[in-house]
């Protein structure tokens, strides 16, 4: 018999005898010497309450629960339940901590052992709440031994303490909150009642034992309890969830046993239940923010409205009431007015926004902090700093926000608007805005020369004012495609493709103005409206079937923003337009392209407008081309740095961040297309760079290409290629250029 087995047998022997046993008896039963028994008893008493009465040893049954043997998986389940409870508690609960420690050790996994150690440390560091522990001990004893307990209890929302005697039946964790309830029969009311254990301020055992109830079926008793208020009718609560995504969560979770979920026609659900106290639901309902509407009872919705008024629209801060700060407050309220703007109130400060923000590290006030300052009434600090101009309006924050707060369109853009109104704008951006206002393009080029890129093209590009006929497609060319020498090459490529496909199209030429979207996202809404209305006037003059543009920013504005100004036309990005015509396009592709191509999802095409597949379909149509994905792609694409005014803040952003997003992206493109040893970070000295380049293994000529579909990108990425060591052979091309090359339409390179 091993020692472990012997100690286990010892425990069994002690449990089996009611009067206890002497060490001599135990020694002869176990056939060992008495000293061994003493040693074993000492060991056993570490885990089991062994009492000594004179020479007799016995186990104190009041303190002892029989050994439960759990396998690893069962232990893990217990461990998880306990861990969840522990984590949600601000203070270390002494019993939970002890139980957790034992379970962690029992699991004997490095992770759980580490946890046990940390709990031990925490127990040493944090003073254990002795009062709380005492209350628990008394309640547990009463529950175990069927003894009534006298408690002092503070009911939810009440200030007066109630004193009563209860028969403790069972413990139950709350479904909506982190509380643990004791369910018992309260004397003298003789009704079942629930007491939140944390609200029981003191507890003392009485001398009275109580009759065990016939049988305790917890679920049934609970159902009875949730639905009945002191023997009367329960309070029906009806809540409405409109958001279909949230509705999914509502369908999947059981908060109350009496709950029922009804499907609604709009994809939302109606949730109903009967409860003992509707006001207990308040924190839970407020947690949903504006997504949860209270239909019933009216007192509940009134209480919520009252809280709203008291806290000035701040529903999630529970610590300190915001101090009145006129600007913060009015600005915060103004954010609520926009589409989904109210969601800002349910920000849980998780900082996903600031974490994913490509410039988050270089921002003194990143989005999470901005919201915190707004709530604290300290937003002036944000307006006094210039960190908002690091925002490239790439929508990465909006994409990851679990509360679906319109961070980019709301918070960031509105902040830029305020900065601009105050005249607090970096000179680079100011210049671009002034030029947009004066010339209708941020480059400050002559509006009369807007169609000069098409001058030498044969056949001629029809300009609407001259053509004077309806066309199928009005091509909105955009600023950079019209004027930027590098982007003009992509523009001409697209023109060749349209002509090869025999598309009936026209352009506005000098009548076209900047689409204004990036100016809008950099805070100059007035300028955007001015430009949009001028474009609207030009559109109204001509007849056309739809608008097609190569610029995702123009596409975004025409699709979402112009209609709000009453300028509404069907619009498509050129990748969508061409992808639809792939059957016609494919036979025209003559050349194969031996290249590994990574496609950069433009923010305003992909993340903002959900166009991911069309550009890839077009690339795949080119034979010989191998399409690879960069580490950031599709919804998680990384901004080129040009959005939201970034196109006109290069110097400013470089000074702040000392890195360029485009360079980061080039690194990803190189890695995705199979280049080794890519160095990311500040440029390394020329000497090193050379040796590194020569170290690269010579590979058979296969081009590495970064394909783009936004006019901001080719110049930005080509500049970045010059800066990133080892990137020299990476080619940046617009999809239109790659297609035109493959179709044999481009006579010269960019």
């Amino acid at each position: 018999m091993s020692r472990t087995q012997r100690i286990q047998r010892l425990e069994e022997l002690l449990l089996a005898s009611s009067g206890g046993r002497t060490s001599q008896e135990l020694a002869s039963l176990l056939e060992v010497h008495r000293t061994t028994i003493w040693r074993d008893l000492a060991e056993l008493s570490c885990e089991v309450p062994v009492q000594q009465d004179g020479h007799r040893y016995r186990i104190d049954r009041r303190e002892y629960l029989s050994n439960v043997r759990l396998d690893k998986a069962e232990s893990l389940m217990l461990y998880l339940a306990l861990r969840r409870m522990l984590r949600r508690r601000p203070k270390l609960h002494p019993m939970m901590a002890r139980a957790m420690e034992k379970l962690s050790l029992a699991l004997r996994h490095p992770s759980s052992v580490r946890l046990a150690e940390s709990i031990q440390i925490a127990q040493r560091q944090q003073p254990t709440d002795a009062e709380r522990a005492k209350v628990w001990e008394v309640l547990v004893r009463g529950w175990m031994e069927w003894i009534t307990v006298r408690i002092r209890h503070q009911a939810y929302g009440k200030t007066v303490l109630e004193e009563c005697e209860i028969e403790p039946y069972f413990f139950e964790p709350a479904l909506l909150t982190e509380g643990i309830y004791l369910v018992g029969r309260a004397q003298p009311a003789a009704n079942l009642k629930m007491f939140e254990v944390d609200r029981i301020l003191s507890a003392a055992l009485t001398t009275r034992r109580f009759q065990r109830p016939e049988d305790i079926v917890v679920d049934q008793m609970l159902k009875h309890l949730w639905g009945v208020l002191y023997g009367e009718q329960g309070i029906p609560v009806r809540l409405r969830f409109r958001d279909p995504v949230l509705a999914q969560r509502v369908r999947k979770t059981v908060w109350l046993p009496t709950q029922q979920v009804h499907e609604m026609a709009d994809g939302g659900v109606e949730w109903s239940a009967t409860v003992q106290d509707a006001f207990e639901l308040v924190p839970w309902i407020r947690g949903w923010g504006p997504d949860c509407e209270v239909l019933e009872p009216p007192e509940l919705s009134e209480r919520l409205a009252q809280l709203e008024r008291e806290y000035g629209g701040v529903t999630m801060t529970t610590a300190v009431r915001p101090r009145p700060a006129s600007f913060s407050q009015s600005f915060y309220e103004s954010l609520h007015d926009m589409l989904d703007g109210e969601r800002i109130r349910i920000c849980l400060q998780c900082s996903a926004c600031s974490g994913i923000c490509p410039h988050g590290l270089a921002m003194e006030y990143h989005p999470r902090k901005m919201i915190a300052l707004l709530r604290a009434g300290l937003f002036d600090a944000v307006l006094e700093s210039d960190s908002i101009w690091m925002c490239v309006s790439c929508y990465a924050c909006t994409e990851v926000c679990p509360a679906k707060i319109p961070v980019t369109a709301g918070l960031m853009t509105r902040t830029k608007e305020e900065m601009l109104l105050a005249g607090n704008v970096p000179p680079e951006l100011q210049g671009a805005l002034e030029r947009s206002q004066r010339y209708g393009n941020p480059l400050g080029e002559s509006p009369r020369r807007r169609a000069d890129w098409a001058k030498d093209l044969k056949p001629e590009i029809p300009i609407m004012a001259r053509a004077q006929r309806p066309v199928e497609v009005l091509w909105f060319v955009g600023d950079y495609p019209s004027y930027h020498p590098r982007v003009q090459h992509s523009t001409r490529s697209f023109a060749h493709i349209l002509q090869a496909l025999g598309v009936d199209f026209g352009i506005l030429g000098p009548e076209e103005q900047s689409d204004g979207d990036s100016q809008r996202m950099s805070g100059e809404r007035g300028l955007f409206e001015m430009l949009a209305s001028k474009n609207g006037e030009a559109f109204a003059k001509y007849e056309f079937g739809e608008i097609v543009t190569t610029d995702p920013h123009a596409y975004n504005a025409l699709r979402h923003e112009y209609p709000r100004l009453g300028i509404s036309y069907p619009v498509r990005h050129y990748t969508q337009f061409l992808a639809e015509r792939l059957p016609e396009l494919k036979p025209l592709i003559k050349h194969e392209l031996k290249a590994t191509v990574a496609f950069h999802d433009p923010c305003y095409l992909g993340r903002v407008n959900g166009v991911f597949d069309e550009p890839r379909d077009l690339l795949r149509a080119i034979p010989g081309l191998e399409l690879v994905e960069m580490s950031h792609h599709r919804e998680n694409s990384l901004c080129c740095g040009g959005g939201g005014g970034g196109m006109w803040l290069d110097g400013f952003q470089w000074e702040k961040a000392h890195t360029r997003l485009a360079e980061w992206r080039i690194g990803e493109a190189l890695r995705a297309s199979g280049a080794n040893g890519v160095y990311l970070g500040p440029p390394i000295p020329e000497k090193k760079r050379r040796s590194r380049a020569s170290d690269e293994p010579r590979q058979p000529e296969r081009q590495r290409i970064l394909a783009v579909a936004c006019p901001y990108e080719s110049p930005r990425f080509e500049d970045a290629v010059k800066m990133v060591p080892g990137a020299g052979k990476l080619i940046v091309k617009d999809i239109a250029e790659l297609l035109a090359d493959a179709m044999g339409l481009n006579r010269s390179g960019p």
């Binding site: 005249g423 100059e524 300028l527």
Partner: protein, 254 residues
């Protein structure tokens, strides 16, 4: 303290300049006008003075195409009064005529200080500032980059060539030619300009017929011509670079 800033519109160099058939002036039929950059600085300096020590700033301009926009823009930035001289102006008027026109109008406004752009790229007969001072009978200091106001006087920071700066004290009223404001001209959001259009009022003043007399006459206006001594290197980048290197070596520069 009353500050008047006369604003002048000049041809926008973004558009290509054409010479009129007469051969002695610009063809203004296609040119767009924009506010003279130095006048923008003069306005900014006036607004800075206003913010610092309080002043009434009046922006004044000749009523040609684009004048309203320029004035409302000034109002949006903070100018208190807007004065437009209405007259059937020719698109280009020389500095002598402008100085007389502005001078007459400014005299009626009774300013303590007149801030004007130190120069404009179309001032073929000299900058307006000194002539304006002459018309008004006030002292003039040009190439001013910053100033402070004293009791009945002002101290202007005047820039000289070669990095020399002087502080010049003048009795008020005076005319100052502004080279640069103490900080770059501010940005004004379009929404502010729109608001100014609704709220600010333009004071129209009927101006007399402009008198361009006294200026040097322009005999011929022409675009830069290729000189005899210049030799143009033709060819693609490689060839041009090669020839340049050759020339540098010949000259002993490399």
């Amino acid at each position: 303290m009353k500050i008047v800033v006369p604003l002048k519109l000049v041809p926008d160099l973004v558009e290509e300049l054409e010479i009129a058939a007469s051969g002695a002036e610009l063809d203004t039929s296609f040119s767009r006008l924009l506010l003279n950059e130095f006048d923008e600085h003069a306005l900014e300096q006036a607004l800075l003075l206003k913010e610092r020590s309080g002043a009434e700033v009046t922006a004044l301009t000749a009523g040609i195409e684009g004048a309203d926009e320029v004035l409302y823009n000034a109002a949006a930035k903070g100018a208190d009064r807007l004065v437009k001289l209405s007259l059937d102006f020719p698109k280009s008027t020389n500095s002598h005529a402008m100085a007389r026109l502005y001078g007459t109008a400014i005299r009626d406004l009774g300013p303590d200080l007149v801030l004007v752009g130190v120069q404009a790229h179309d001032s073929l007969d000299g900058p307006i500032g000194p002539m304006l001072a002459e018309v008004l009978g006030m002292p003039y200091v040009g190439y001013v980059a910053g100033l402070r106001l004293g009791d009945g006087c002002c101290v202007a920071k005047k820039e000289y060539p070669g990095g020399v700066t002087a502080e010049v004290e003048l009795d008020l009223p005076a005319v100052l030619g502004i080279q640069a404001a103490e900080q770059p001209p501010r940005y004004v959001a379009i929404s502010r300009v729109r608001l100014a259009m609704k709220e600010a009022s333009l004071e129209q003043q009927v101006a007399p017929e402009p008198n361009p007399g006294g200026a040097a006459a322009v005999c011929r206006m022409y675009k830069p011509e290729t000189g005899q001594r210049a030799s143009m290197i033709e060819g693609d980048e490689g060839t041009v670079a090669g020839k340049l290197l050759e020339i540098f070596r010949e000259q002993g520069l490399l």
